[in-house]
């Protein structure tokens, strides 16, 4: 499903963030990526999300070499295949929960209010449709972010520290949602510092200085 080949990313001559990285994630697999700060986790996730480009090497997702796509093609590929969940939620502050989800529909194809409501029902926010992000708790905002990521039925969910800003109870709700998505067949990649998440899913990839230092099956 996702394959990186000799992936490198340098920001300048001195800062090599990813160094000849080769990983492969199968369809329907839940892979967690862990590592200390500066190990290249988020950079890897940005490249897999088609938000950033590597300096060298290639990324093949669903048979498409995404590193060869133009900026607009990458955007189109992203909205068709990838759902993104951020640590900071990144919701549009003046739009309601429902509208934030519908916005992703709008850029994908057609707005369907019922589908957007269903997605929010799925994450347990059917009663919070008309609330703006400022009136939602962190956990609720993250659930809206997950509903937005799911609305266009992407095959892949990429999440950067999805529970990083949440308390234990809300973190559990989010992780339960990921479990549900995993059982439905979504391919999930989560970047995390949380050792508890590291034990979940199918596989844990440890990064250090832009290289894979350890890979183990957790399932």
């Amino acid at each position: 499903m996702i394959t990186t080949m000799n992936l490198s990313k340098c920001y300048n001559e001195k800062t090599q963030v990813l160094d000849d990285l080769n990983i492969a994630i199968k369809k329907g697999e839940w892979a967690n990526i862990m590592g200390p700060s500066g190990s290249g986790k988020t950079t890897l996730l940005n490249i897999l999300s088609c938000l950033d480009r590597p300096t060298d090497g290639s990324v093949i997702i669903n048979g498409t070499e995404v590193t060869k796509l133009s900026q607009d093609e990458m955007a189109a590929f992203r909205r068709e295949n990838i759902g993104l969940v951020f640590q900071q939620y990144h919701l549009i502050p003046y739009l309601t929960a429902l509208e934030n989800v519908m916005l992703a529909q709008h850029f994908h194809s057609m707005v369907d209010e019922k589908e957007a409501k269903d997605a929010l029902e799925l994450v347990g926010l059917g009663h919070r449709l008309d609330h703006i992000p400022a009136h939602l708790s962190g956990g609720e905002q993250q659930r809206v972010s997950i509903a937005r990521a799911l609305i266009n039925q992407p095959a892949i969910i990429l999440a950067d520290e999805p529970t990083g800003n949440l308390d234990r109870a809300n973190g559990k709700i989010i992780l339960d949602l990921f479990k549900k998505l995993h059982t439905k067949g979504h391919t999930i990649v989560i970047v995390t510092h949380d050792p508890e998440i590291g034990t979940m899913g199918d596989r844990l990839i440890r990064l250090m200085d832009g290289r894979t230092v350890d890979e183990k099956i957790t399932a």
Binding site: L51, A75, Y94, L95, H108
Partner: protein, 427 residues
């Protein structure tokens, strides 16, 4: 969805949007005001420039070149052809009737006056007369020398056209020569026929008219036996500056070119229209005055265009400042919509909707403000109101949207360069 985003985005950033709209209103109101004045400028400036005097002189066809020495027209008595007084009103019925600012008929003859039988030109004319114009909305028009020569001044009184009394206004040079003053009576001898006119005023013009005696047109017609006749008409018309097309030979024009020429207020097309309504006449443009008027209008129009350009540039700068700040505030939002899959054209469309809303709102309000501003300019500069022209509204809105687009070009380009990776990690 764009509608929802637009409405809510404007609501939360209303201060920035109001600033942008104000910048557009400033430019649009000036454009609307200047466009309103521009469309009226020929009439307004034409009226102002009527102080230059008549710019068309209408003579009977085939009339000889007048023999004038020291302002005395010695050919007047030999004139064979005349124009008809009963056709004068038709000058206010031509295609460019509203551009006719005034006219005055003249009938001149050489008479003997005073104890030494001095030869002096006696001119009959209208001074300030209201004539009926049939089948026109304006129904009547004020004509006479006062409408074409407002700089004439009279010590004493003007002759009243309606009263038809035996009165005269003496040119100041004639009054000095004859030692006459207001209240005196002057004896006029025309081929042995005697009339007496009471001097009601002394005329100062700074020109050859100071060597003449003026009285009612009908008095000279009665004296000379030329009832209902006039020897020439002077017309003051508001004109558009002559360009190369205006000077083209009309016999060489295509039908379309001729229609365009005829329907433009060039001095020659107005003169031709006068010839068409006054039987057996030659309407001759007075080139010096026409060209001075034309050049003056051309310069005023150029100045107005330059002011408009500066207003557009200043307004666009204002919009650019407001939009740049707005986009800086929305960096994260732009990063998010790019991250969730918005392509370049979708991102641009989001801003275009906002630009359109700012432009249309600013344009409509600016048009309204501009109408008021045009009236202020009209009253302050021309001492009259400026007619409202509906064509200015769509023009103002289109220019207002243009201003907003120009002002937003650089901020939008910067928005498109926003890297979601950088803004989403909070930098």
């Amino acid at each position: 969805m764009y509608g929802r985003i637009l409405r809510k985005s404007i609501k939360v950033r209303r201060k920035r949007i109001i600033l942008a709209v104000i910048a557009v209103i400033m430019g649009a109101s000036l454009i609307s005001a200047l466009a309103g004045v521009y469309l009226n400028i020929e009439e307004k400036v034409g009226k102002e420039l009527s102080s230059y005097g008549a710019n068309i002189i209408v003579k009977p066809k085939g009339d000889d070149i007048p023999l004038e020495i020291g302002g005395v027209n010695y050919s007047s008595n030999q004139q064979k052809n005349f124009l008809r007084e009963d056709e004068l009103y038709k000058i206010k019925k031509i295609f460019w009737k509203y551009n006719i600012l005034g006219f005055s008929p003249y009938l001149s003859t050489v008479v003997k006056v005073g104890p030494e039988n001095e030869s002096v030109v006696l001119t009959g004319t209208w001074f300030d007369k209201e004539i009926d114009i049939p089948d026109e909305a304006f129904k009547s028009a004020r004509v006479g020398v006062k409408t074409i020569a407002p700089w004439w001044t009279v010590d004493g009184e003007w002759i009243n056209d309606e009263e038809n009394k035996p009165e005269a206004i003496l040119g100041s040079a004639v009054a000095k020569q004859l030692k006459n003053k207001v209240g005196d009576t002057v004896s006029i001898n025309y081929n042995g026929k005697m009339i007496e006119l009471k001097v009601v005023g002394i005329l100062h013009t700074g020109g050859e008219e100071e060597n003449q005696i003026f009285t009612n047109l009908s008095a000279v017609q009665d004296l000379t036996g030329l009832q209902e006749k006039v020897s020439e008409i002077k017309v003051s018309a508001a004109i558009t500056p002559e360009d190369d097309f205006a000077k083209k030979d009309i016999t060489q024009m295509t039908k379309e070119e001729y229609i365009r020429w005829y329907c433009t207020p060039y001095i020659r097309s107005i003169a031709l229209q006068i010839e068409e309504v006054i039987t057996d006449s030659d309407a001759l443009p007075i080139e010096q005055i026409a060209s001075a008027q034309g050049n003056f209008i051309k310069k005023i129009k150029l100045m107005m265009m330059l002011i408009t350009l500066v207003a557009v540039a200043a307004s666009a700068l204002g919009v650019m400042t407001a939009m740049t700040t707005s986009i800086l505030e929305r960096r994260k939002e732009i990063g998010v919509i790019k991250a969730i899959g918005a392509q370049t054209n979708q991102t641009i469309a989001l801003f275009m909707a906002e630009i359109g809303a700012i432009g249309v709102t600013g344009g409509i309000i600016g048009y309204g403000v501009g109408i008021g501003l045009a009236q202020v300019i009209g009253n302050a500069v021309f001492n009259s109101t400026v007619a409202i022209n509906v064509i200015v509204l769509p023009v103002t809105i289109i220019i207002a949207i243009g201003i907003t687009m120009i002002g937003s070009m650089i901020p939008i380009r910067n928005a498109l360069k926003i890297d979601p990776v950088i803004v989403l990690r909070g930098e």
